[in-house]
Symmetry: C2
Subunit: 475 residues, 2 copies
């Protein structure tokens, strides 16, 4: 049996132990930070991707896929962008025994792969908006310590890239993305803070960046994803222009929206407990595990009933695993709890006799379920579990936020601190030194707990032009 | 309007023109043989993947994903394998500004990525069989002329890798894969020949290879995929061993099963005609296009009816596109035929009045459909279209095969020739020189047309140990 480190006092150790014990990722591959998606982890990822695809396609985006390799010449076209990524890309320099004339970059993100083609696809105002997304792996030569899902060198990545008629329509797309992420996060039972990053923490090449931060209970904040407004910063060097109805030509305004496998890390980190992972039902590799509790003569009938229930739930569209191995039930319970399966159904001679099942959800809540209404009851119990996960996560988020009026309060703080900021970069950096972390930026949406708006800058004391800002220690 | 080159006399030109005109792939990317999956092509690929996943999972295989990069040291462990791939891999030699100590190979296939981890996953006979697959991109530094889907440098690839207790069980897995491919190909409306390759054309490191060949009408044969029996050729160098119940340890026997985006190329090549692509319904990006034929005062009612029908078919699970643009109907028909949409539904004032729709399938067959029963009628018409595609493709396959009794008959032959072969490599090469192509190998399943078994080797005339073999010009 696995004894997990304490989540509150040793978060990282706990996190690594859960990912390993639940068999979500195998990090024994021969390259640091390039991990193996196990069958179990791959199921979770597939479910995550399904949610992302569903929500982004509902906003009129279409799937595409661009090559993984980018010629160095294209990669270098947008100055800020290459400065931001130059130090962390993998270079392909040889094909067979031949040195390549133009070295190739393994995409760290796909602006420079897509935009030369966008310049061919966009000709007229009728070609706009162009909203496309891809789910691919990206590569970063990460020199910091790597962690499964959270910081890796081969990243399972979701990226939407759009071209719009003008600045205002690009702003609308940013709002649409914020709405899509709200619905995605709801499926993941993850609350979060939408924060506009300060200028110095904007995506390389973007005009502004709105990021989604999740404070992990008294630890650090995790950036879940981000949306960027590029204005015409890329469309000018890449020549993405359209002809308007009046014959004039204009550079498009662009946006992007990025998410990654980190969302799985966030699910583990936010919902997991001392018994292991806890998956919300939409992401769970299996939603239900059925354990036949076979004892004595009734064995065969119980086994058959367990199979019938499994089959019935599968027909109802549920992801079900039937654990009819020869371990004792307690060992099975332990293992599937570690793995985070939302709902366990037990069936033994007593249940068989009464036409019932015993259901125990991953939070330990027990109930009897009539076999005749199993699909409907399972659906209801999963909904209840998801709702409870949201409630708990929201409580956690609320308790992770606290105001700060003086710089000294920031020292050693493990919370997200709400403070006044005049907007000056120098004051921002002073905040960052005090908290030994980052000025996350200014909230883009109302905070989940109301705070009185600060009236002066926490660093310089100025009272004019003061805005509410957040500071924390990011992961 | 696009005029397509003649399929029979200029197949390659026709193929390239169809792929471009149907907007299935954009080959204007800055690296030769690395193409862009357009929104339309990506839909076809997603449908193809769904079929592959459904059929392989039905045989007990689980999805996984291994890293795209492989350390040179692991890549070199199986001697034959590296010899087969060395000249055609991309090498990553730098991360940021740092020269890597161990260069990394971009996977050309994943044996050498997976097998060091399989050695960790497989410990006991209880861990077997291990049947896993992944759908990822692989990379080959192709020096020959590249063609969308058929020969590319970044390949959308399906690969199953399995570990079995012994040689016999690995042989069973090969048979299971042949069955899975039969079901996959049925969904693609593609008949094919299953052929055991001669020794010199076996996959590098395999004991034997069974490949699936599709003769394209009087042109060349296309290899659709292959299944390999590795015996313990890899498990010995990679140390994939298990402990049997009696405590003895054994190397596993392995199999693999490989398919790729080439299947989309095969669909275009096999089913397409002078009006463009023709998709079987399971793969079609859209199964149905609805064209409102708006004229005069009834316009609004027609438009509304078209939307209602689209919505109803979508609710029935159909992939539908409603083309309500302001082109004239004829231009729309032309464009969607080029794109290969299986079924067109037209609705105009006359149809509206009679509660009907006019349906025209991609082969030009017209019928009236009652609006009240549209979902059922559409399903039936799509089934009929698929069945007709299979019939035509099978006719094509049958007429592409012919016996040959003398080497001279092979010269300039564009057919798959059925001939006698003694099994000697020298005789095999003599056949290959005569046909200016390949000895495909020996049929693994009965041919779709019966031939009298040859009684002597076409090359040396020997009559002992003679087997039936196939020779052709592969693409």
């Amino acid at each position: 049996m696995v004894e997990l480190p304490d989540k509150r006092t040793a978060f990282i150790d706990w996190y690594l132990a859960v990912v390993e014990a639940a068999n979500l990722s195998d990090k024994r591959y021969g390259i640091k930070g390039m991990n193996v998606w196990t069958p179990y982890g791959f199921r979770a990822r597939r479910n995550l991707d399904r949610v992302l695809v569903r929500e982004i396609e509902a906003t009129g985006s279409q799937g595409v896929e661009f090559p993984a390799l980018i010629p160095a010449t294209e990669f270098a076209k947008e100055k800020e962008h290459i400065k931001g990524f130059d130090a962390q890309v993998f270079w392909v320099t040889k094909g067979g025994a031949t040195e390549l004339d133009v070295p190739l970059v393994l995409r760290p993100t796909s602006e420079t792969a897509m935009y030369p083609i966008f310049a061919l696809w966009v000709r007229s105002h009728r070609d706009l908006p162009l909203n496309v997304y891809q789910i691919v792996n990206t590569f970063r030569y990460e020199t910091k310590t790597t962690r499964p899902f959270v910081r890796v060198r081969e990243i399972h990545f979701f990226e939407e890239h759009t071209c719009q008629l003008d600045e205002a329509r690009a702003t609308e797309r940013v709002r649409s993305n914020l709405g899509a992420f709200r619905r995605m996060a709801a499926s993941l039972a993850l609350p979060y803070l939408a924060v506009r990053r300060p200028k110095w923490d904007t995506f390389p090449g973007a005009d502004y960046t709105i990021a989604f931060d999740l404070p992990l209970d008294g630890v650090r904040t995790l950036q879940l994803g981000s949306v960027h407004h590029y204005r015409d910063n890329f469309s000018i060097p890449y020549g993405i222009r359209y002809e308007a109805p009046d014959g004039s030509t204009h550079a498009v305004h662009q946006t992007t929206f990025g998410l990654s496998e980190r969302l799985l890390g966030a699910i583990v980190g936010a919902h997991g407990d001392q018994r292991g992972a806890v998956f919300p039902s939409e992401i769970a590799p299996y939603e239900v595990v059925i354990v036949p509790v076979v004892a004595g003569a009734g064995g065969t009938a119980v086994a058959r009933a367990a199979e019938d229930v499994a089959e019935e739930l599968r027909r109802a569209g549920r992801r079900v695993v039937l654990d009819d191995g020869d371990e004792r039930p307690g060992a099975k319970y332990f293992r599937w709890e570690l793995a985070g399966v939302p709902l366990r159904l037990e069936i033994g001679p007593r249940e068989l006799e009464h036409g019932q099942l015993t259901s125990v959800d991953r939070l330990g809540r027990k109930a009897s379920v009539a076999r005749a209404s199993a699909p409907a009851d399972v659906a209801r119990r999963l909904e209840e579990l998801d709702a409870e996960l949201v409630r708990r996560a929201l409580d956690g988020l609320r308790s992770a936020i606290a105001p700060a009026a003086r710089l000294e309060e920031l020292t050693g703080s493990k919370q997200v601190r709400v403070l006044g900021w005049c907007g000056d970069e120098a004051c921002g950096h002073e905040v960052e030194r005090a908290i030994d972390g980052a000025l996350l930026g200014t909230p883009e949406e109302p905070l989940p707990v109301p705070f009185a708006a600060p009236t002066s800058c926490i660093a310089c004391g100025r009272t004019d032009g003061v805005r509410t800002a957040l500071a924390a220690q990011p992961m």
